[in-house]
Assembly symmetry: C3
Homo-oligomer: 269 residues x 3
């Protein structure tokens, strides 16, 4: 069987164990680190001024997640982004809950033009960043993926990046191509950090993408994560056991399982 690009990239990730720096919110650091370890990468949550930049220079990928942006983290994020760009380290922006909240919204608007490898969020967050929405209900989306699609494409074109909108079917675009990933399970929305951890996986796949295009690396992360979620949901009694099984499933996923279970469709934007 020929492996899909998602399957092949999972094999690359396992072979290279990329170092993934996560500057992320205090709610999900533990879960995110365990997701990164389970998939076969090496997490490091280096998020202080004076270390965030040096680490971004040696990391394979960097996640910048705005969930609980303390003053120290905000400065560390800017330091990491500048260093990542100087070192050609791909970095991912997750503009958690922007829209109504003023500090993170301003920070997201400042960081987004600084050539992120990808921006991921729910529909409300992407619409807010695209300047087309007022934001969601806290960290929850109040807009549909479909409603966010035009804004996502425009944002990807304007910023020359990949934009990924999480939803029942994920929508991923680089402004030219559109890849939709239908893998996943609604239980992901019942575990805190269900979306945030995906941002770290995107950074991990970015680190090993090789000659694959960025939009494929981002789609691969979504497919792998979504397939693991489906496997976990099949044996979960609720969101608690789902989160545990998700970590287990990520650690045992094989590239061939990805090829056979992925539900990926592609269109022109």
């Amino acid at each position: 069987m020929t492996l899909s690009f998602a399957a092949a990239l999972l094999g690359e990730l396992r072979a290279h164990n990329p170092l993934v720096q996560c500057i992320t919110n205090s709610v999900v650091t533990n879960f995110t680190a365990n997701v990164v370890l389970a998939i076969g990468a090496a997490p490091a949550m280096t998020d202080i001024v004076g270390e965030a930049g040096p680490f971004a220079r040696v990391a394979g990928g960097v996640l910048v997640n705005l969930g609980t942006p303390t003053p120290e983290q905000r400065l560390a994020m800017e330091e990491a982004v500048a260093a990542a760009n100087e070192s050609a380290t791909p970095w991912v922006l997750d503009p958690v809950a922007i829209g109504a909240l003023p500090i993170r919204t301003a920070l997201a608007q400042k960081l987004a033009p600084q050539t992120p490898f990808a921006i991921r969020g729910n529909a409300s967050e992407i619409l807010a960043l695209a300047g087309e929405g007022a934001g969601g209900k806290g960290v929850e989306s109040t807009d549909s993926t479909e409603a966010a699609a035009p804004g996502a494409i425009a944002l990807a074109q304007r910023l020359n990046t990949v934009v990924a909108v999480s939803g029942p079917e994920d929508f991923i675009t680089d402004g030219i191509r559109v890849i939709r990933v239908a893998n996943g399970d609604e239980l992901l929305t019942k575990v805190t950090g269900g979306g945030c951890a995906l941002g770290a996986l995107i950074a991990a796949f970015a680190a090993v993408r090789g000659t694959n295009s960025p939009v494929e690396a981002v789609a691969a992360a979504h497919a792998v994560y979504g397939i693991a979620a489906e496997q976990a949901a099949a044996q979960a009694a609720g969101p608690g056991s789902f989160a545990v099984s998700l970590i287990d499933a990520l650690s045992t996923l094989t590239p061939s399982a990805i090829s056979s279970e992925q539900r990926i469709r592609e269109y022109a934007a």
Copy 2:
């Protein structure tokens, strides 16, 4: 079957999915958010200056937990409390480990008179806030619920709030009524955040209490949480699996199960 007030309030909570802002300690943010999600509410851990206040204006309820009060969080707490009071958003105070520790004790004494919807803690924490004890052993209580009862009643009357003392049988009073809730399991004391997450549930129930009195909303949170703990303990092999099962149980609890399993007694104070 006529539903009890606790059962009815769980139905209300599920119907309205209230937004619960948690300014809480770094140890329990993840567990707390998952508890809030599992019961059917929407958590947001917005705890920075400049956002804590604006968020408190739109939240359904706010938790202020003093477990690891960094300077940033202390300022954010004061901002959130002021905004919550201006917006009539109910907020809950959890004075974790006050007594011997000077900074949080002073902060608790400053916040407590600012019309919280409820104050929850263990016996030692409530006695320390009532000015009658020296505090417990770190986060553990060294006093019994019975010993704290008079202080809790006096505190509720003085501050015109609801005071809840967690213990083998929880003691909840508004200074006039006393409700005791016997649901729960000792394993809750073996999971970090076992008490802290209850504070977030109180804020969630406060958000949907409707015409129920505050003391009933607080008691409902205790009963629902305690029943879930009993269900989880029945299939746990230790505190690790108990915490996982507790999240599962919270997500599957039904109002009718609450009516049949609750152990609530009421007295005059």
Copy 3:
């Protein structure tokens, strides 16, 4: 059956429920607190300026873990170490990821000479502290335990402390004696905080060591933790369920199981 020192110390720990203060990184606070609770001690994550010192005076043991050292935590660590030393409270240093990262490396070099009860880390971290290595790959070791052994012995002699190097077989020395502990499971390296939580256990065992030598207390913590890991691994489907079972296993371990399952060897350094 005569109990081994590790078994006897577990009995002491259960009997005395020591208070363990953890100033640790944001990724592992929850897991660490649950590990400390499961073994039978009382965790408190008091890590702010103005409280870290007072708490260290009353705690049975203190962990200082440099994983995510915010400016506030760095000051709190220095305050706690000074107070611990004045009060003869044993404190444990975990120099997470030192070597390449400048701020924590400087802090570790400043704290290490201040009479810690023990220093624990992976081989790369211990080599970096001993001045013989460049540090590992983020939080992962790139050196073997054997390679770190001479540096560990020299460091223990120079600082008059116990140095513990985690690996497939743990290497623990006070500069005179060498104890190797072969208990454990590789899944510990797949759970974030697998090593960090051990630092808290060392502080707990230090609190109850009585007439046992420090090197024995440190070895006991390694053996107990490693045996629990073996039991957890026997029923885990991956790192997610392993972490849950590890907490369960720690809570049900008996001293007699330690005596029969421990794999401890001793040499002269």
